[in-house]
């Protein structure tokens, strides 16, 4: 694990956090969505650096490319008007409570992950064939879950069309 590698990992992680912070504080939904796309690109870089190249690729294709486009499309469809009209931060009390909950949650997660984690698979060189490592278990052990996913997608398509259809 080289030095260059480590520094890049930190840079992309911090960029992801900075973009996420910019995302929560933007008033305009379009600006928020674009910052979230930036976060997703940085996460994709982190995935690739952790030897999950396929996940990194579909992160860009599915999340940044499909899901966020759907979000932007809905923002365009609803025509929400000027950002100042839709300023939507809650009051001071809600902000304080949210900050408190956030600090407690962060402390809990950091305490939990302080423990040393046992390694159950030996450390090996990253395999050249990244897809087979995922495709093998996906189509053998997790075949039932994979098939059920198709039913879920069908239900989501039918549900979305039914809900968004204009009733005549």
């Amino acid at each position: 694990m080289g030095y260059f590698y480590q520094i890049n990992f930190y840079i992309f992680g911090l960029l992801a956090i900075a973009s996420a912070l910019a995302f929560v504080t933007r008033k305009s939904p379009v600006a928020a969505a674009l910052w979230l796309v930036n976060t997703m690109f940085c996460l994709s870089a982190l995935y690739i650096m952790m030897d999950a190249q396929f996940i990194g690729a579909i992160q860009v294709l599915v999340y940044a490319g499909a899901i966020m486009v759907v979000f932007l499309f809905v923002v365009m469809l609803l025509n929400l008007g000027h950002p100042s009209d839709i300023a939507d931060m809650r009051g001071t009390w809600a902000k304080l409570v949210a900050a408190g909950i956030g600090v407690v949650l962060l402390a809990q997660i950091l305490v939990v992950q302080r423990q040393r984690l046992p390694r159950i698979i030996p450390e090996v060189e990253a395999p050249r064939n990244v897809i087979t490592g995922i495709a093998g278990p996906l189509f053998n052990e997790y075949l039932l879950a994979f098939e059920v996913t198709s039913v879920l997608l069908l239900a989501a398509i039918v549900g979305a069309v039914l809900l968004a259809k204009r009733r005549s």
């Binding site: 480590q6 992680g13 992801a16 956090i17 996420a20 995302f23 929560v24 939904p29 928020a32 969505a33 979230l36 976060t39 997703m40 996460l43 982190l46 995935y47 952790m50 396929f54 996940i55 579909i58 992160q59 599915v62 899901i67 759907v70 979000f71 809905v74 469809l77 609803l78 839709i86 939507d88 809650r90 809600a94 409570v97 909950i101 956030g102 949650l105 962060l106 997660i109 950091l110 992950q113 984690l117 159950i120 698979i121 490592g133 995922i134 278990p137 996906l138 052990e141 879950a145 879920l152 997608l153 239900a155 989501a156 549900g159 979305a160 069309v161 039914l162 809900l163 968004a164 204009r166």
Partner: protein, 97 residues
């Protein structure tokens, strides 16, 4: 590297939670939920380095569920907007009683 990834994931998840609690625009709250799902995905990928490829397969399933959720959720938001002309959660209080 795994510990750093878990740290980044924890921070991103917390930012998502704070966003859900402080924003009132339904679309932005939805995007915060997506951010939380992304943070969990980062944890899954980090653990897949320790415990094998099952973590990466779970990431694929989480992404599928996120796509389905985005489609249905945004359809619900469009439907609400047609009826009430707003996506501000303060004004959507039909179930408050």
């Amino acid at each position: 590297m795994i510990n750093e990834a878990l740290f980044f994931s924890a921070v991103l998840f917390t930012i998502g939670v704070v966003g859900v609690l402080t924003r009132r625009n339904a679309i932005i709250i939805f995007m915060c939920v997506e951010l939380m799902l992304n943070a969990v995905n980062l944890t899954f990928v980090a653990f897949s380095k320790l415990y094998g490829a099952a973590g990466q397969i779970f990431v694929i399933f989480v992404m599928t569920v996120a796509a389905a959720e985005a489609a249905v959720g945004l359809a619900i938001i469009i439907s609400i907007f047609r009826h009430r002309e707003t996506v501000n959660l303060e004004n959507i209080n039909l179930l408050k009683g």
